[in-house]
């Protein structure tokens, strides 16, 4: 009887500690999302890939131009705007607030995409 009680008493703080560790770790998620810190969009063939990207708040999204023609990344609501990006050049923006952020290439306006921040 006593042993059981001791085990129970010892187990509880250990369990609490483990729970805290799990809760505090940003990389352990139930639904297998990439790290909350960074996400990528590749620009190629006059399109953004993925065209719609969903990320947690606080994520830095980096666009990399893999096309052989320059492009830009411009928010339709004026939230962010890259300088022209030639082949292999990048643009990054950190999304602090939840919301939907549609954007497009101002040089080739048929190229559109969006970032959904949860």
């Amino acid at each position: 009887m006593r042993k059981k009680n001791v085990v129970a008493v010892l187990a509880t703080p250990v369990m609490i500690a483990m729970l805290l560790l799990v809760a505090g770790s940003p990389s352990v998620k139930a639904n297998d999302q990439p790290s909350a810190a960074n996400a990528e969009v590749k620009i190629d063939n006059f399109s953004f890939g993925p065209q719609s990207l969903t990320v947690p708040a606080g994520t830095t999204v980096t666009w990399t131009n893999r096309d052989d023609i320059p492009h830009t990344v411009v928010s339709t609501e004026g939230v962010f705007k890259s300088k022209v990006r030639d082949t292999d050049e990048k643009f990054s923006y950190t999304f602090e607030k939840a919301g939907t952020y549609p954007y497009y290439c101002s040089i080739h306006p048929k190229m559109t995409g969006k970032v959904v921040v949860q």
Binding site: N45, F46, I69, T76, K83, D86, I107, H108, P109, K110
Partner: protein
């Protein structure tokens, strides 16, 4: 001599079929053309260029002249589709300098530079200095107005222009209108002229006689070539409405890096080849990017456009020729 030429005209008119095309004259025209694409319309009747020229001269007015359109030099581009856009622009200038009739001036319909950089504009200006025609009129392409909303383009090329770089001028009775349709482009949209420019254009042509030949030049096509790839202008219909009264309107554009033409009533639309790299035909590729071809084929897909005006003729003669 004049009487003989008049006789020829009468004969050609009599040879018309119901569709208004004189086949013998048209074939003569094609044979003369050689490798270049030659067509000229006069009230719907194809007329050979040499014939039209002779007629104009003997009319005694001396009003004829020619100019050359070049486009999409993309100075600064250096990818596999063309690693040397300097050489091909120089080849275009050599072609201009080899024309039988030296052009009075040049029109550059934009994408002068590839990245709106000063040294890229400088390079183009330098190369064009060796052209026989010393006057060059420009309109910007979307590659010329990057990052600064066209400020450096305007400082260099738009000193006497209005707004974002539109303007008009007259040459020997022909009225030229340069339009800017590459700024303030909206997401998912096409080229755009904007209200201010359209208002200016309406006033600009209001008091011109309807017999004044009009030439409009702008970067993105002013007709709907292929909207899926952005090859069109949202509000061009309004601009064309202001030109409805004119008997002869020629619209010269670039942007698509290939020749395309369309005739709609009194309006002749024509797009020029690039001097830098070709692009695929509408829908023939995933995207409208630079089209790689074997090196020995490149120059056959690049070129210039020679435009001939003969006083008294209804329309301008437009001749495309490749660089090789």
């Amino acid at each position: 001599m004049a009487a003989k030429k008049q006789g020829l005209i009468d004969q050609m008119l009599q040879d018309l079929n119901n569709d208004g095309i004189d086949r013998r004259g048209f074939l003569k025209c094609m044979a003369w053309a050689g490798t270049g694409l030659v067509w000229t319309l006069s009230g719907g009747i194809p007329v050979s260029r040499a014939f039209a020229k002779g007629y104009g001269k003997e009319a005694g007015k001396g009003g004829d002249f020619s100019f050359v359109q070049i486009s999409d030099s993309h100075m600064g581009f250096n990818k596999p589709a063309n690693p040397d856009v300097i050489a091909t622009l120089q080849a275009a200038v050599d072609k201009i300098n080899g024309l039988a009739q030296p052009p009075e001036f040049l029109l550059h319909t934009g994408d002068i530079s590839h990245l709106s950089k000063q040294e890229q504009f400088d390079n183009v200006d330098q190369i064009l200095k060796s052209a026989s025609a010393k006057d060059v009129f420009f309109v910007p392409g979307e590659h010329d107005v990057l990052d600064d909303n066209g400020k450096s383009y305007l400082e260099r090329y738009g000193k006497s222009a209005k707004g974002s770089g539109w303007y008009s001028f007259d040459k020997k009775g022909v009225h030229f209108i340069g339009l800017v349709n590459v700024l303030n482009l909206k997401s998912g949209g096409l080229g755009s002229l904007g209200g201010e420019q359209l208002e200016w254009m309406e006033k600009d042509v209001k008091h011109l006689s309807h017999s004044t030949p009009i030439v409009v030049f702008a970067h993105i096509p002013l007709w709907s070539v292929y909207p899926e790839w952005g090859w069109g202008t949202e509000d061009s219909a309004q601009a064309l409405a202001y030109l409805k009264k004119f008997g002869s309107v020629t619209v010269l554009n670039g942007h698509i890096h290939q020749t395309m033409q369309k005739v709609e009533g009194n309006v002749t639309f024509h797009t020029a080849m690039s001097t830098a790299f070709p692009q695929p035909q509408p829908g023939k590729a995933d995207s409208p990017g630079p089209m790689k071809v074997p090196a020995e084929q490149l120059r056959s897909l690049l070129g210039i456009t020679d435009v001939n005006y003969v006083r008294g003729q209804h329309s301008l003669a437009v001749v495309d020729s490749t660089l090789g």
